[in-house]
Amino acid sequence: MGKAWKFGHDIDTDVILPARYLNKSTPEHLAAHCMEDAGTNFAQDVQLGDIMVGGKNFGCGSSREHAPIAIKACGIKVVIAESFARIFYRNALNIGLPIMECPEAVAGISLGDEIVVDLATGTIENQTTNTKFQARTFPPFMQDLIRAGGLIPYVEGRKKNA
């Protein structure tokens, strides 16, 4: 169970991780500045297992993988959004940051709600309001990528099986 951090539409990667911090790329450094320009104390107050909720086009803008790395290193269990920008979507899968597309859940979750997510089945449960949602499933190839734990173990595994 985790607390929901809710943000709006078009959350861009400059907001997730401002460029002024891109001169160092350790996960701890990036986590310390995550969502710094969103006007919250997110990086200070986020707890291990919390979830992040965004509107449409989450992660638009720069290709910087530092953005999903920062979110993951903060302890966020999963990002739920109405939709994701394509480079962020790829980057999240590639580094093993779980993401879910579910507009209904986004509409049904408020800041601070207690949320339980089952990544295997794609179910999202809002325990604060006692409601349940079902996220869209990934195509089989992406499920394989997720199961392998990201792109590198996936590619290495394919080479071994070739």
């Binding site: 078009d10 861009d12 400059d14 907001v15 401002p18 460029a19 002024r20 891109l22 001169n23 160092k24 790329s25 320009d37 006007g39 449409k56 086009n57 638009c60 803008g61 720069s62 290709s63 910087r64 993988e65 530092h66 999903p68 790395i69 939709s83 920008a85 394509r86 480079i87 790829r90 980057n91 590639n94 580094i95 195509p139 190839f141 990201g150 792109l151 590198i152 590619v155 290495e156 080479k159």
Partner: protein
Amino acid sequence: MSMTITEKILAQHAGLDEVVPGQLITAKLDLVLANDVTGPVAIQEFAKFGTENVFDPKKVALVPDHFAPNKDILSAEQCKVMRDFARKQQIEHYFEVGRMGIEHCLLPEQGLTLPGDLIIGADSHTCTYGAVGAFATGVGSTDLAAGLATGEAWFRVPESMKFIFQGTNFQKWVGGKDLILYLIGKLGVDGARYRAMEFTGDGIAALSMDNRFTMCNMAIEAGAKNGIIAPDDKTFAYLEGRARRSYPLYYSDADAKYLEVQEINVADIPLQVSFPHSPENAKSVQEAGGIKIDQVVIGSCTNGRLEDLRIAADVLRGKKVHPEIRLLVFPGTQTILREAMREGIIDTLIEAGAAVSTPTCGPCLGGHMGILAKGERAVSTTNRNFVGRMGHVESEIYLANPAVAAASAIKGQITHPEEVS
């Protein structure tokens, strides 16, 4: 089967006769690109693969442009990681400060991005190379690491959207930047999400290559996977003497399927200004008139090419930058800088009161060389005006073409170029 230019390039690189939108493919890469921000992370991930060497040192480009010349010790360390890797791997296209440029100006100029190529770059504006008829798209560092190791990447074949720009009766000073800002204003920043944007029509045929690069550069700002313009005589003229290898030509079939086709008459497009804090907040320059500013930036991978500097100089010739304005000019590459010197452009800009820099991405992403303070406003020819993009979280960026930017520098407020000519 009929296909779009994007589908044909993807099919050919996947070794398939045909592909359809939504299909997941693995395709061979012609060029793999990274910079000093994304490169070090990719190099770290590359080390996790069971391979010592990159797939082909001739097909890798590494460009230190974001925080280079190094703005601080941390940046210097990052650039060193990339430099050491380039030397160890004998990367042919590593460009050191003094011989480099902003990656998306530099690589086409060097003849490294050719029609029919499939290119990935760990920078979202990699889509710029669609202007020469390549399929080029931005990825993250892990994708790049896999590309470095295997020479391949996975793709979901995108649906294509066709934008037909009709007519050649452009309003005065209107260029590629105005066409693309206008289009992003219509579509929104996710209007082309996951899709290919194909630009065509008389209006595109009439545009110079520099203007076409500007348009494809900003396809990502509509959420697109790639922007693309089929090669024509202007493309061939640009590539003459630059292309380092022969290239195949692909064109969309007349009956290719598009998710959407939009027709836009170029005569209807006025000079554009995108208001804070999103490129989709595009309005006419008249609607922006009178907004007081503090800084003007002319340059970047969007509008740092020779023609952009020439336009800025035409507006600024014999005039002075407003006493309360800082005008910063960033030529895209060393070659552009040198050409601009030969033509007297640089002298004109400095005479007017501009600061001219060596090529760097610095100010565009609030890295260095032009950071905004709290409450300050800038007019910029760059591609993004997100919150905090160029400095303080309470600063503002207005996106515009080089003519509007130069005119605004003279007046100290957002200005139509006609008002200063």
